[in-house]
């Protein structure tokens, strides 16, 4: 009886130790996917947030959740294939795929000199547009469309009551005019009607809470 008690204790503690075991297994799997997978030009991070109108930057930051950072094409698909597509998730949610581990926050150092193109599209096009923009971003298909020194730093999709909003983030708002990215997007999605397309530097948003550089008034 004593022996079986010991066994059960062992089994119990074994169960308790499952999480470190899982972590190791996860690390191993991660390692193998990173080893055998096709490397991306840079890592990309999936983020999720739920937007509530009129929230401060701090409140927004608190709602922001990092899903995963991928380094390989397979890693990208393993996340993409296993999260609900934007056609399913509820309105007010946004997905972001950001270069490296950049957070989708205007005021962050990586973004504050940048801005984004906003494209509104009909709900029935959202899933396609999101997918095509992601593929073009991780495949670095936009790099030839950007001004010298500028690059795409993220893609976002925001689910709204009427038309959904797709955003393409870039690092340099001052070089946005040199970019031909909107033409590229339209060539990737010839059958999609965008109901609105415009660019805005983050510092020019009323809600921007960071330090506004002097050259931008």
């Amino acid at each position: 009886m004593a022996a079986s008690n010991v066994d059960s204790v062992k089994a119990f503690s074994g169960e308790k130790n499952d999480s470190p075991k899982l972590a190791k297994k996860a690390l191993h799997e991660l390692y193998s996917i990173e080893e055998s997978g096709v490397p991306l030009n840079t890592p990309w991070t999936f983020w999720l947030d739920k937007t509530i109108r009129g929230t401060t930057a701090a409140e927004y930051e608190a709602s922001l959740r990092k899903l995963y950072t991928v380094n390989t094409v397979e890693g990208f698909w393993s996340v993409y294939n296993n999260i609900p597509n934007p056609g399913i998730i509820s309105t007010r949610y946004s997905y972001h795929l950001m270069r490296h581990q950049i957070r989708p926050i205007w005021e962050d150092e990586d973004n504050s000199a940048g801005g984004n193109w906003r494209l509104k599209c009909h709900k029935f096009d959202t899933v396609d547009v999101w997918k095509e923009l992601l593929l073009a971003a991780i495949g670095e298909q936009f790099s030839n469309c950007m001004g010298d020194g500028d690059e795409v730093t993220g893609i976002s999709v925001s689910l709204r009551d009427r038309d959904d909003i797709l955003q393409i983030w870039n690092s340099r708002a001052d070089l946005a005019e040199q970019s031909t990215i909107i033409n590229k997007v339209k060539s990737l999605l010839p059958n999609v009607t965008f109901t609105a397309v415009f660019y805005k530097a983050f510092v020019q948003h009323d809600a921007f809470e960071g330090k506004k550089p002097h050259q931008h008034r």
Binding site: L22, A23, K25, A26, L27, E29, L30, I33, E35, S36, G37, V38, P39, L40, N41, L48, R65, K66, L67, Y68, V73, E74, G75, F76, W77, S78, V79, Y80, N81, N82, I83, P84, I89, Y93, E132, L135, A136, I138, G139, E140, Q141, S143, N144
Partner: protein, 112 residues
Amino acid sequence: MSARDTIALGREIPTRKVILHDVAHMPSDYSSTPGGTIFSTTPGGTRIVYDRAFLLQCRNSPLTKSPPLNMAKIPGVTTPAEPEKPKSNGKKPAAQKTGENPGDEPQFEMDI
């Protein structure tokens, strides 16, 4: 002879030097160059680029069938079914049992 001359006078292949400060910056496979690209013809030659068809082809890799084990679990989004299922599973059988049990028990007694 003149044909050879034109070949010899062909354009120089543009090159750029990349200085590595750490072994970790070496690419993991031999087909790519440090700081370079897998496709030697990429304009600019500084980025790893993939076209849409290649990326879509990778979508069916066995590695992509399940999410990364340590991906963030967000109930209602990345784990839509999990947090709800245990609750509904727990309640439904209980409700069914109360309905079925009165009918089942006499049958067992009959068998014995």
